[in-house]
Every structure is written in structure tokens, then in C-alpha cells.
């Protein structure tokens, strides 16, 4: 690997280090342990979404529905926990345990992701269109399920995943860290991981080599849905409420983290670790701008520019390679 390629690979890490150094000089609160923990806690939801988004983008696709799937999965879990599922024909109610509600939420995410996958692979819809449609469907279903009102008072057992601590570290950080480890291994050391990179590198070549491209894509979108559901459970548990408007705009933060982390929007290049760096960069940026008392409106502008610069850097790098 030559120096230029190494620099390209280390770009996100260098950007993160520069930001950390600058912010620690500009704000005396930035390096405080409580603030560092806060940053990790805040990025944990985006990290769950972004791991799934990384897999999707690695195949050359995109998923615009993760924020809406997050909201629906959280709402379904909260609704089942709070109200159960009435089976009037049998005269019984299935009263879900916190564990059962979480499993149901994840299954909902998985099913929605599969639906995305089927729309893209069987009906040949462009991922942008298919997931945009799912965004609307999932938002509508969330409103129907909740009646437009938050589902509250979910209890401490359910809340543990979002507001609990293990060994002094908040649970959302443990969950997102575990997912990073699992999906790092999946992407680097399993057949599915290799197929994902192959599909993103060249779909035709992958198909010619006998790999079932559609199945790979189905898995990837289903996993993205399940991961969005995990993020939804964390958000719901943390707030002790399922807000039907939860996750609005989260897909943009997630795509931004993936792109800033060095994953190419055209697929085939990128890594889970890069996405972790991307999430950290966005988290540190948000936190730093807040500590420096920058207006939230300017924060949006700055974040937009950072994304543009990251995509431009990727594009220029790609052009040179071509």
C-alpha cells in the first residue's frame, strides 16, 4: 500500500483526531469523562442504523427507510408490551414480556427489510424508490398502530436496554459495540461478507461466478431492517416511550456516517470500522458544536458541508482510480 492509499484509508481517523484535538483546546468540558460517555451514548443509535446501512451501501444500494422502520419497530414493541395482543376470537390476550416485545420489534424490522429486499430483487425497483416507498409505509403504519400518540410507561425491565448500565457503562453502548464486533466479523470472515463486497464491486461478475446475488441482497436489506429495529428498541427504552415521530431524518445521519467513514456510495469499498469512525466524527461534531454554543441552525449547515466534503473526496478518489 503506497503512502497515498494509506492516507486515503486513514482519512476518517485523521479527521477525527484533528477534531478531538481542536475541541479539547476550545472547550474544557470536551475531554471530561461524562462528556465522552455522552458522545458514545448519543452515537449508539446511529451506529446500529449505520452498520446496516454500510452493508446496504456496500452492495451498491441505499436504504432510506431505516428511520421509519426504527419508529415502527419501537412502536410495535411498546404497544405489545403495554397493551398486549388481543385475540378476540379466542377470548384471550397475549401479554408480552419485555423480552417478547423486543423479539417482536426485531421481527418487524426484519420483515420490513425483507419486503425492501423483495421489492428490489424480485420487482427490480431501484433501491432509492423501494425504500422511499417503505419509508412512507412504515411511517403510516406507525401512526395507525399508535393512533399518533406516544406509547408511554414501559417499565424498568424494558427500559434497561436503553437506560440501564452494565459495569458502569450504559447499555446502548454495549449493544452497539457488540453489533460492531459481530458485523465486523460477518463482513470480514464469512461468505456473506465476501459476497456483499463482491456484489457491490460488480454485480454481473458476481452472478457469473455462481453467487445468488438476489439472496445476498435480501439478507442485507433484512439485516438492515433488523438493525434499525434494534436502534428503535434502544430509542424507545431510553425515552420510556415510543414516539411515532421517532427517527425522523435518522437515515440522513446514517448515510452521512457511512460515507464519512469511507464507504463508497457506488458499493464494493468500505468497512464497518470506517463507519464506526464516521459515527464518531458526526457525534464529536454535534457535541463540539453544542459545547461551543453554535446555533442548531448552523450545526445543520456545518454537518451538510462535512458530508459534501466526504462525498467529494470519495468521488475524486474514485475518478483518479478509474
Amino acid at each position: 500500500m503506497n503512502a497515498k492509499a494509506l492516507f486515503k484509508k486513514l482519512q476518517p481517523l485523521i479527521a477525527l483526531v484533528v477534531m478531538v484535538v481542536a475541541l479539547s483546546l476550545l472547550s474544557d468540558k470536551f475531554l471530561a469523562l461524562a462528556n465522552q460517555r455522552n458522545i458514545l451514548l448519543q452515537i449508539s443509535v446511529n451506529l446500529c442504523l449505520s452498520i446496516g446501512m454500510t452493508l446496504v451501501i456496500l452492495t451498491g444500494g441505499i436504504d432510506l427507510s431505516v428511520g421509519a422502520m426504527l419508529a415502527l419497530a419501537g412502536a410495535v414493541a411498546a404497544g405489545l408490551l403495554k397493551n398486549g395482543l388481543a385475540l378476540k376470537i379466542f377470548g384471550v390476550v397475549l401479554q408480552f414480556t419485555p423480552f417478547g416485545a423486543m423479539v417482536a420489534g426485531i421481527l418487524v424490522g426484519l420483515a420490513l427489510g425483507l419486503f425492501n429486499g423483495i421489492a428490489i430483487t424480485r420487482f427490480k425497483l431501484p433501491p432509492f424508490v423501494a425504500t422511499l416507498g417503505m419509508l412512507s409505509i412504515a411511517r403510516g403504519l406507525t401512526m395507525l398502530w399508535t393512533g399518533g400518540f406516544p406509547v408511554t410507561d414501559l417499565g424498568p425491565k424494558f427500559g434497561f436496554i436503553g437506560a440501564g448500565f452494565f459495569l458502569g457503562v450504559p447499555m446502548p453502548i454495549w449493544v452497539s459495540a457488540a453489533l460492531v464486533v459481530v458485523f465486523y466479523i460477518v463482513s470480514k470472515n464469512t461468505l456473506l461478507g465476501r459476497y456483499i463486497y463482491a456484489v457491490g464491486g460488480s454485480e454481473k461478475a458476481t452472478a457469473f461466478s455462481g453467487i445468488n446475488v438476489n439472496r445476498v441482497k435480501l439478507w442485507v436489506y433484512a439485516l438492515a431492517g433488523a438493525l434499525a429495529a434494534v436502534a428503535g428498541l434502544i430509542v424507545t427504552a431510553r425515552l420510556d416511550a415510543a414516539d411515532p415521530k421517532a427517527g425522523l431524518g435518522y437515515e440522513l445521519d446514517s448515510i452521512a456516517a457511512v460515507v464519512i467513514g469511507g464507504t463508497s456510495l457506488s458499493g464494493g469499498r468500505g468497512s464497518i470500522l470506517g463507519t464506526v469512525l464516521g459515527c464518531l466524527i458526526i457525534g464529536v461534531l454535534n457535541n463540539g458544536l453544542f459545547l461551543l454554543d453554535v446555533s442548531p441552525f448552523w450545526q445543520q449547515v456545518v454537518k451538510g458541508f462535512v458530508i459534501l466534503v466526504a462525498v467529494a473526496a470519495d468521488k475524486l478518489g474514485g475518478d483518479r482510480r478509474e
Binding site: 384471550v92 390476550v93 397475549l94 401479554q95 408480552f96 414480556t97 417478547g100 408511554t152 410507561d153 416511550a241
Partner: protein
């Protein structure tokens, strides 16, 4: 055959997990409905008990308008420190007060009162328009948000207290208030903007008595 065994193992593992950590319990519909009704927080009943049992007795110990207005006049920041309450880190603060004065004007939205002797200026404005906000709930310090794990219940208490003000206090006050009458009152004032909320002090009444 290998695939069949893999699926079988996966199903057995899932079954064991579900047996150890059940996903749900099957409950008869009637039992579930009865449990739900028993669990539901009745904000109206709670507010009525709180009103009669705690709020009105506490009004006797509220700060007097003579003391409070003099303190605000001389040092508004000091009056805030000594007599107000606020929730969390909010800049909005509340006074819980009682007093006696002469009605100087009556409008659709307020009954204005002069409490200082020989004054004809409106120093207190008892609110008689639409009552909203959390002044009664948060202004006395008798209720604490952290005692209510469900924030919706806490919000419902506020709405129920405001409803009691509307029915128990304002209906009579609107009918009976007339300029020149002497009135005793107790209530809560919410100060969000000192420039407009202190002069006159806008008070939501919980008790009034016209003489």
C-alpha cells in the same frame, strides 16, 4: 440431510430460549381488561383529592401578597430566591400566594386587584380567561414530577387541576366580581417574562371570597 440437522438445531435452540424466557403469557380477555382498568391512573380523582386534602390547606401557609409585592418592588431577584419555586433548570418560576384587596377592574380575562392600602393600581390580576399551563401543579411544591414515572399522568394532573379551577373558582368569580368589592384570594402565579408577568402579578386563583 446436513441442512435439515442445522435447521433442527436452530429450532431446538429457539425453543429452549423461548421456554427459559417466555415471549408472552396467555391471559383471558376479561382478566386483562380488569387489570388494565385497575392500573389506569385516574387524574381527575387524584386532582380532586389533592385539591381538598392538600392544596387548600397549604394555601393558608402561602406567602402573603403584602410581603411578596414589597419584596418584588424592592428586589425582584431576592423575592425570586426567597419565595419562588421552579422546576428543574427552567427559567420559568412560580409564586404560591394569598392576599386581600379591592377590585379595581373586571374584564373577560382578569379581575384586577389593588392590595396595597389606598392604592388604586392593579397589582394582582386574577386570571379568569382560559386556564392552561402548570402553575397550580408546579407552583406549590406539593407535587413532584419524579414521583410519576409516566409523564402523561403528571400532565393529566395539571389538566385536571386547571379544570377544577374553571368549575370551582372561576364560574362564581366571573359572576360576582364587581369594582370596589373587597376580595380574599389564594393562587399561583407563573412568571415567564418578568417585564410582563410581574406588574400586575398574574395569578391563577384556587380560592376566592368576595366580601
Amino acid at each position: 440431510m446436513k441442512r435439515f440437522i442445522q435447521w433442527l438445531v436452530a429450532i431446538v435452540i429457539c425453543a429452549i430460549i423461548c421456554w427459559l424466557f417466555p415471549l408472552f403469557h396467555v391471559v383471558p380477555l376479561k382478566t386483562a381488561n380488569a387489570e388494565k382498568a385497575a392500573e389506569k391512573f385516574d387524574a381527575t380523582a387524584f386532582a380532586q383529592n389533592f385539591w381538598a386534602g392538600k392544596l387548600l390547606p397549604a394555601a393558608e401557609k402561602a406567602v402573603s401578597t403584602d410581603v411578596l409585592l414589597a419584596a418584588i418592588q424592592s428586589n425582584a431577584a431576592g423575592a425570586k430566591t426567597n419565595y419562588s419555586r421552579s422546576v428543574g433548570l427552567s427559567d420559568t418560576y412560580f409564586y404560591f400566594l394569598r392576599g386581600r384587596g379591592k377590585v379595581v377592574s373586571v374584564s373577560d380575562d382578569a379581575v384586577c386587584i389593588a392590595v396595597t392600602e389606598n392604592s388604586t393600581n392593579a397589582e394582582i390580576a386574577l386570571q379568569t380567561g382560559l386556564i392552561f399551563g402548570d402553575a397550580i401543579r408546579d407552583g406549590t411544591g406539593l407535587l413532584n414530577a419524579s414521583d410519576y414515572p409516566n409523564s402523561q399522568d403528571f400532565n393529566d394532573i395539571s389538566a385536571a387541576l386547571n379544570q377544577i379551577v374553571e368549575t370551582n373558582v372561576l364560574t362564581d368569580l366571573r359572576k360576582q366580581a364587581r369594582v370596589g368589592a373587597t376580595i380574599s384570594f389564594a393562587g399561583c402565579a407563573e412568571v415567564d417574562d418578568e417585564s410582563s408577568d410581574l406588574h400586575p402579578l398574574k395569578v391563577i386563583p384556587i380560592e376566592t371570597k368576595l366580601e
